[in-house]
């Protein structure tokens, strides 16, 4: 592969099948160091499958994925997370029995180093590590304005707050690339606005590229630098929000549908 400095993630021609269902066919795309890339398309277009393939949860039968020049196509999900790819899920997937704080602390796993013996002794290494990483997590809690619920068990939190905690958990991994699968789905206008603001804050403060799947066209056009349009597992268009708005095929397939 050619290695280009400003390409963070390179997807080359990936295809993914589930039995007879072709979830992705020959999808390629480049994600640059500094951009929010929107992925749009109707339900079942393969957006989630694309993100699942990047995080190693799905295995494309064909094609390759490179992150920072390194091939990650066959890596296990936990190894991909260690490289710094973090994500949220379309259906919230939190650790329901833990507090918001501990959900974020759990995501520090790949950045922490103590083993179970250090943990068993606690005093010394483990305690220092807890305090040090707690500080990082508290910064994220401040950023996302979830101070009030940090000690609440997340299973009992309302939907909008759980979505926010999940974003916090994704950030706590200290990612170099963030994948967000419909972070605003099911939210009211005000919550959506907050979430859009958080995403932009994260983008500015953490200096990382973001892939954002989102249905709300207003939001997508507003905050994304570039868009990719999927339909039936194929990439049918790619460009700036303005270019996409002018694209007849997209308008017919997707935007016009509304």
């Amino acid at each position: 592969m050619e290695k280009s400095d400003n390409v963070k993630l390179k997807i080359e021609n990936i295809s993914l099948r589930f039995g007879g269902v072709q979830a992705l066919s020959g999808v390629s795309l480049d994600l640059r160091e500094r951009e929010i890339l929107g992925v749009i398309g109707p339900n079942g277009a393969g957006k989630t499958s694309l993100i699942n393939s990047i995080s190693g949860f799905y295995r494309p039968q064909e094609g390759d994925i490179y992150f920072e020049g390194k091939k990650i196509t066959r890596l296990a999900p936990d190894k991909i997370a260690e490289l710094g790819i973090s994500r949220t899920f379309q259906q919230i997937e939190l650790y329901t029995g833990l507090t918001a704080l501990d959900n974020l602390m759990a995501a520090r796993h790949v950045r922490m180093h103590t083993n179970f013996l250090d943990g068993a002794i606690f005093l010394g290494r483990a305690q220092r590590e807890e305090v040090q990483h707690r500080r990082v997590v508290e910064d994220i809690i401040d950023l996302l304005e979830i101070e009030g619920i940090r000690k609440k068990v997340v299973g009992a939190l309302p939907y909008g707050q759980r979505k926010r905690v999940e974003l916090g958990r994704a950030l706590a991994l200290e990612p170099k690339l963030l994948l967000l699968d419909e972070p605003m789905a099911g939210m009211n206008a005000e919550e959506k606005e907050d979430m859009a603001r958080f995403i932009l804050d994260v983008y500015d403060e953490k200096n990382i590229p973001i892939i954002l799947i989102e249905h709300d066209m207003g939001v997508v056009m507003d905050i994304c630098d570039r868009l990719v349009v999927l339909e039936f597992g194929r990439k049918i268009a790619e460009g700036t929000p303005d270019e996409i708005k002018m694209n007849q095929q997209v308008v017919k397939a997707y935007l016009g549908g509304d």
Binding site: S55, A81, A107, H109, V110, D118, R134, K151
Partner: protein
């Protein structure tokens, strides 16, 4: 925001402490000091009951780590205790290794064997894992019964007491001190693991293994580690058991006992160290009262027979666990938290 003002690293240290206030420390120290006086006035009968409870608490803490925290069901904890007990027996009697040195060895050997039976956890969940650990229960006891040269088979074997100078664990009061210290250390270890990196990884796997893996937790490694640590506890409990009875034989390590331990984790409230201890004490306490009562009932109503009463007490315990599952799935621990909350007047409460 309810953060304690002042230096953050200090306040975080305090925030993550088990005992956050002086009062809590004082209450704990006084409680422990009182327990240490038990051997001064209690009869050997009562001290033995405590020693039995210590064994149970340690084994249940191990199961709490595997099942309560990591969510991997295990139906073989009692058989793993058997491994620990026989590790001491064989190593001390056949190899002349000091009984004290056998304590960590019992933990290690049992931990490693537990890992073998826990390995299917990578591929299978719930029901099938239950089957695999159930196999552990039968295979281990079968093997121990058939390695007659080493273990004395069905007849069992004698295990010498742990001694140092004039001190011997053969006396229930001395064993009480050993069990007391072991139990406190193991509670601290369980609690510390739970509140740090590895413990959170276990809980993450229990609550959402898909998310856990995508967030960087190696499922295989951590499931195996949970089995290792949990079975290490079983090995320590097995050592204590060998000291407690000094005559061990395979029939002491039953499936019923394994199931009870699971019941204790449930009654205590899955996922809390304190709860696991409470569950162990509460159910073992009831169990002993019932044994006592059915023996008594057996003498009063000889025509019905002790067996029938024992069976009856089993049914009662089954009911207790079912009732907990239905009405208080969060267990005794949750009740205890509610109780404490109603007494809390402390300014830093959340």
């Amino acid at each position: 925001m309810a953060m304690i003002p002042g230096d953050f690293s200090q306040s975080y240290e305090r925030d993550i402490a088990i005992f956050r206030t002086k009062t809590q420390w004082v209450v704990m120290v006084i409680g422990l000091a009182i327990m240490l006086t038990f051997p001064l006035f209690m009869s050997n009968y009562w001290l033995s009951l405590f020693n039995f409870i210590f064994v149970t608490v340690i084994a249940v803490l191990g199961l709490h780590l595997v099942t309560g925290l990591c969510g991997q069901i295990s139906l073989g904890q009692s058989a793993l205790m058997c491994v620990g007990a026989y590790t001491v027996g064989v190593l001390s009697v056949k190899f002349g290794i000091s009984v004290w040195a056998c304590l960590p060895l019992a933990g290690l050997v049992t931990g490693l064997i537990g890992m073998i039976f826990g390995a299917p956890a990578l591929r299978v969940k719930e029901f099938y894992l239950a089957m695999s650990t159930l196999a552990a229960q039968f295979i281990i006891v079968w093997v121990v019964s058939h390695l007659e040269e080493w273990t004395g088979g069905q007849l069992g074997m004698y295990v010498p007491p742990a001694t140092i100078g004039g001190f011997s664990s053969a006396s229930p009061s001395n064993l009480f001190y050993i069990g007391f210290i072991l139990t406190i250390v193991m509670i601290a270890v369980a609690k510390n693991i739970q509140r740090t990196r590895v413990g959170r990884a276990f809980i993450a796997i229990r609550d959402n293994d898909i998310a856990a893996e995508v967030m960087g937790i190696n499922l295989f490694r951590y499931k195996l580690l949970a089995f290792f640590i949990g079975c290490f506890f079983a090995g320590i409990a097995g050592w204590m058991w060998a000291m407690y009875l000094q005559n061990i034989n395979p029939s002491q390590f039953t499936l019923k006992e394994s199931l009870w331990m699971l019941g204790m984790v449930i009654v205590g409230g899955m996922g809390s160290t304190t709860g696991a201890v409470m569950g162990a004490v509460f159910v073992r306490g009831l169990d002993m009262i019932a044994d006592y009562a059915s023996a008594w009932a057996g003498t009063v109503f000889p025509t019905i027979g002790e067996q029938a009463f024992t069976a009856f007490s089993l049914i009662i315990f089954g009911l207790v666990i079912v009732i907990f599952l239905i009405y208080e799935p969060r267990g005794l621990y949750h009740r205890w938290e509610l109780f404490k909350a109603s007494y809390r007047l402390h300014p830093y409460a959340y």
